[in-house]
């Protein structure tokens, strides 16, 4: 009791003392995107502050690898910022369930986003959303347009054309047909399996069926991408087994490789590194005219610390993040990270424009392993890395890989049992 009245007394004095400048609220943003610090300081924050006098915003990123741990301890200690940049899926869901993130379902700005966009920051039943989607990355293939012109190849549309193009590059011998290695493992799964896969499992349809337990990883739709990956090996460079992710990037930007299985986050880096024309094509479909599916993977969101002192100001900022103005600033400053709002954003970068244009032609989905399915042990995402590498190296058949993954998933995931 005494403590309470003391607090009130203190607050009152504090209020009277600061009444003269109390309107200025400072919001602090927690983030792992320390690469984007200048972008926030020079473009995003000034644009927001100009529209909303009285709210000051501070962007305080930490190192990506430490972010989750740092954030968790700050939240537990009550010293975390007012706004929290959200990792997709389980990491943020755990924060919501622990009561650290506020429910944002009643915010009007949330209607600017599609269900796929919101799925990364929702409870499993979709009843509560806790982060405003900020950006996604799209998978596809980036190619050396000068090399394609020199060899007389057009960007392939179908799988047959894709392998014909690879054959032609290999016969010519000037370029390594495709720059990808298996040393770091994740490229094989992320830029291989989850890049070409949605065309086989029909995007959201297959992904949701897998979560519901209606499809199995041993089904044709889920093993066929491994069979295709197995055909990639001869087109990868010599010693691809020990080739790392930066090796692949360098091989491509130095002009030694013709095709790069990519995620759109590469765009800004490649723009500064490569001195040749680049183009992009979407994951090839089996037959011309088939519906195409792309991995349009939700990557960054932003939510509100449930314990913030300034919920109104924080909501104002979140509403602005959901607005077209933010989408246009963010999308153009970071080509390759695409705003998720329903309203299309006009992008200036030609390569980014190509990537984002696929949203109009194809059905969007997210990476198959990210929602719910990577919660248990063995971890499906990590297992998929290994399986994709094994498929490319040919150490196991697609059916064996499917069976192994299915066994692992079924061991802890009830709908698959």
């Amino acid at each position: 009791m005494l403590r309470k009245s003391l607090t009130i007394a203190l607050t009152t004095t504090a209020l009277t003392a600061t009444a003269a400048w109390a309107e200025d609220v400072t919001l602090t943003i927690e983030s792992w995107r320390n690469d984007d610090l200048t972008l926030w300081q020079d473009k995003i924050i000034p644009a927001f502050e100009a529209k909303h006098p009285g709210i000051k915003v501070k962007f305080t990123p930490s190192a990506p690898a430490e972010y989750n741990a740092v954030l968790n301890s700050k939240l537990d200690a009550g010293s975390a910022g007012d706004l929290i940049t959200c990792r997709p899926f389980d990491a943020s869901l755990a924060l919501f369930e622990a009561g650290h993130l506020a429910d944002l379902d009643d915010m009007e700005a949330m209607n600017n986003f599609s269900d796929v966009a919101k799925s990364a920051w929702q409870t499993d039943d979709g009843s509560a959303s806790f982060c405003v989607p900020m950006a996604s990355v799209i998978h596809g293939f980036i190619y050396n347009a000068d090399a394609f012109a020199e060899l007389g190849i057009d960007a392939p549309e179908t799988e047959a054309e894709f392998f014909a193009a690879l054959d032609k590059i290999r016969e010519d011998g000037t370029y390594i047909p495709m720059a990808m290695g298996t040393n770091d493992q994740w490229e094989a799964a992320t830029m291989g399996y989850n890049n070409i896969g949605p065309n086989y499992w029909k995007g959201e349809e297959g992904r949701r069926a897998l979560i519901a337990g209606e499809q199995k990883l041993t089904d044709e739709a889920w093993t066929a991408p491994y069979a295709t990956l197995a055909k990639w090996a001869p087109y990868l460079g010599d010693g691809y087994e020990a080739q790392t992710y930066p090796d692949s990037q360098n091989l491509f930007t130095l002009g030694r490789a013709a095709i790069y299985p990519a995620g759109s986050w590469e765009i800004s880096g490649f723009n500064t590194q490569a001195d040749f024309q680049m183009g992009a094509f979407k994951p090839p479909v089996q037959n011309a005219g088939d519906t195409c599916y792309i991995s349009d993977h939700t990557d960054i969101g932003i939510g509100m610390n449930a314990a913030t002192d300034h919920p109104e100001a924080a909501k104002t900022f979140l509403a602005w993040v959901g607005s077209p103005e933010f989408a246009s600033i963010f999308g153009n400053a970071l080509p390759g990270f695409f705003p998720l709002s329903k309203e299309p954003v006009e992008l200036a970068d030609p390569l980014a424009k190509e990537f984002v244009s696929w949203r109009g032609e194809c059905e969007s989905t997210i990476r198959s392993t990210y929602q719910i399915l990577s919660r248990g042990t063995p971890n499906l995402e990590n297992e998929t890395w290994g399986a994709s590498v094994a498929a490319i190296k040919g150490t196991a058949s697609p059916e064996e890989l499917g069976a192994k993954l299915q066994d692992g998933l079924a061991s802890w995931y009830a709908p698959q049992q």
Binding site: N183, Y240, A242, Q243, L251, S374, R375, T377, N379, S411
Partner: protein, 304 residues
């Protein structure tokens, strides 16, 4: 009769070391072991006894990973024992030869990698062995042996041995220095006495020096054992937490890290992680005990 004086100074002098050691070593050790007996269910920590250990040893998925890591760890240790320590002893024997010139230079050159960071070693060797930019393929090419080159770090069958040999390259200086010091402490008179009896050269090494440095070799073996079963950095720096390709370089340290702190979408599980750490502790403890009670007490010592 006077009471024996309380010797306060003993407590005072011991206190700093005991306090610091307890705070940073003993307490965390027992706390980790305690953590292994709990589990988190629905945001709450509950006591589960030895359940985590049962999962680790008998659940097929966990057990497979654990035995794989343990087996890899033994191979890692074996390579060190069979390559690092004999080479270290040989180098020390050569260095202690009185007529060797530039001995100090060689000694420093061989010892320097030991003081480098694992991250530097990992990256440097990854670049040297890189099939794309590395100098290993071009050097082999220059002597006409290009066909022997393989992307070693990327092949399941070679990766662990390659990393073990990199680690040997880094740490060969330690057994060398310890043996070198032991060799220098052998008095000249003994060797001269041997010479009079007709034992010279290589025979002197096998019959006089080696028995005298055996205790040092024992110490080196146990240091290697503890170091290898606690190893983590080199594998993590060069192959990442998944210890690829296909877990072929996964050792207990990387397995523990991945489980404890989580990786990519895998959330960390401090309780299972502690169980693995507990198992590592037990393995090292057993190994050290075998050495201390089984080997060291039986070793013959010579008064020099």
């Amino acid at each position: 009769m006077t009471k024996p004086r309380v010797r306060w100074h003993i407590a005072v002098f011991l206190a700093p070391a005991v306090l610091i050691y307890s705070a940073v070593m003993i307490f965390p050790l027992f706390n980790t072991l305690r953590l292994a007996l709990y589990s988190r269910v629905d945001q709450e920590r509950i006591f589960t006894g030895l359940d985590n250990f049962r999962t680790l040893f008998f659940d097929p998925i966990w057990a497979e990973q654990f035995w794989n890591a343990l087996g890899n760890n033994f191979w890692f240790f074996l390579v060190h024992m069979l390559v690092q320590n004999p080479i270290g002893i040989a180098l020390a024997a050569i260095l202690s030869h009185p007529r060797l010139r530039f001995a100090a230079l060689y000694r420093s050159a061989i010892f320097i990698p030991t003081i480098l960071s694992f991250v530097i070693i990992g990256f440097a060797w990854k670049l040297i062995l890189s099939p794309i930019w590395g100098i290993a393929p071009s050097m082999l090419d220059a002597v006409g042996l290009k066909s022997l080159f393989a992307p070693w770090l990327g092949k399941e069958e070679y990766a662990l041995t390659t990393l073990a040999l990199i680690s040997v390259w880094q740490f060969v200086g330690i057994p060398m220095m310890l043996i070198y010091a032991a060799l220098l402490s052998i008095p000249e008179e003994i060797l001269e006495a041997g010479e009079i009896d007709g034992i010279t050269g290589l025979a002197a090494f096998w019959k006089i020096k080696l028995p005298l440095i055996l205790p040092s070799i024992g110490i080196i073996s146990i240091l290697t054992f503890v170091g290898n079963f606690n190893a983590f950095d080199l594998i993590y720096a060069s192959q990442g937490a998944l210890a690829g390709p296909d877990y072929s370089t996964d050792i207990l340290g990387t397995f523990m890290y991945r489980t404890f702190f989580g990786f990519q979408l895998q959330l960390g599980d401090p309780h299972m992680g502690s169980a693995i750490a507990g198992a590592m502790f037990a393995i090292i403890l057993v190994g050290v005990c075998i050495y201390l009670f089984g080997i060291q007490t039986r070793m013959r010592r010579y008064q020099l």
